[in-house]
């Protein structure tokens, strides 16, 4: 039933090491290529310094990122809000970004900001529920974005079109807010706080 050959045996053992080498190299390749082929970068229209702005206002983030009367959240302020401090006639500083900004101001055009934390269309997210009702700090989900002095490039997934901030920076997509804003992260917090877990609470 069994045959026994020394040469064959020798070769066989070396072969198995090769298989393991294959596993290691294949896996390394996979880890390296995943973010490279999946994500692309887009520049923001111009630079923006959250920190400087935050220092100028009284009411923190809510000075510009306001709620409407009906409880909905404005998100990124419109150009009218900018005009409350900035004038179309005269720049306030010397920053080249401001020159760019002046163009929009003068043309009265909305600035095509790319939103890092833009959730898919099927998501209903109530800022009022989180920041007003539950009293969360903005930074709980958005991190120290408000303290940043410049805007990092906006990365998006080539296949899905969503911002990379949603799936997370790491190659295997673990972690949680502010580094990741997936459904699992919403669910985790909801579950911990005993919030109703029905689908419609977060989906529309």
């Amino acid at each position: 039933m069994a045959t026994h050959q020394q040469a064959k045996k020798q070769r066989s053992r070396a072969d198995w090491l090769l298989l393991i080498l294959g596993v290691v190299l294949g896996s390394a390749f996979g880890f390296w290529i995943t973010p490279t082929i999946l994500y692309a970068e887009k520049p923001q229209p111009f630079q923006f310094d959250h920190k400087i702005h935050l220092e100028q206002v009284d009411d923190g983030c809510k000075s510009c990122h306001t709620f409407r009367e009906d409880g909905s959240f404005t998100g990124i302020p419109d150009i009218e809000s900018c005009k409350e401090c900035h004038s179309a006639d005269e720049a306030l500083g010397e920053d080249p970004a401001e020159k760019e900004f002046m163009k929009y101001l003068q043309a009265d055009q909305p600035i095509p900001w790319l939103v890092y934390s833009r959730q898919p269309d099927c998501v209903f997210f109530s800022h009022a529920a989180h920041s007003e009702n539950a009293g969360f700090e903005c930074s709980r989900c958005h991190g120290d974005h408000g303290q940043s002095t410049s805007l990092r490039p906006y990365e998006y997934n080539r296949i899905t079109g969503y911002s990379r901030d949603i799936w997370g920076k790491g190659p295997i997509g673990l972690s949680g807010p502010p580094h990741r804003m997936k459904m699992d992260d919403c669910a985790k917090c909801h579950r911990e706080n005993g919030v109703n877990g029905a689908c419609f609470v977060c989906h529309k």
Binding site: M1, A2, T3, H4, Q5, K8, K9, S12, R13, W16, M183, D184, A187, K188, G197
Partner: protein, 53 residues
């Protein structure tokens, strides 16, 4: 499918269903892995079988 998925509840339904599922999966893949390992060991030791014998 995994306990940290949103839909997971530690209720009797999940425990039975996934208990059985993971049980079967473990048995099947466990046995398969064992067989593969045994084959590798057999070959390492030079024990070779072929169907015609």
């Amino acid at each position: 499918m995994l306990p940290f998925a949103f839909e997971w509840h530690w209720d009797i339904g999940h425990i039975i269903f996934f208990g059985l599922f993971y049980g079967v999966i473990s048995v099947v893949f466990g046995t398969l892995t064992l067989t593969i390992l045994k084959t590798i060991l057999d070959l390492w030791d030079g024990v070779i079988h072929s169907p015609d014998h």
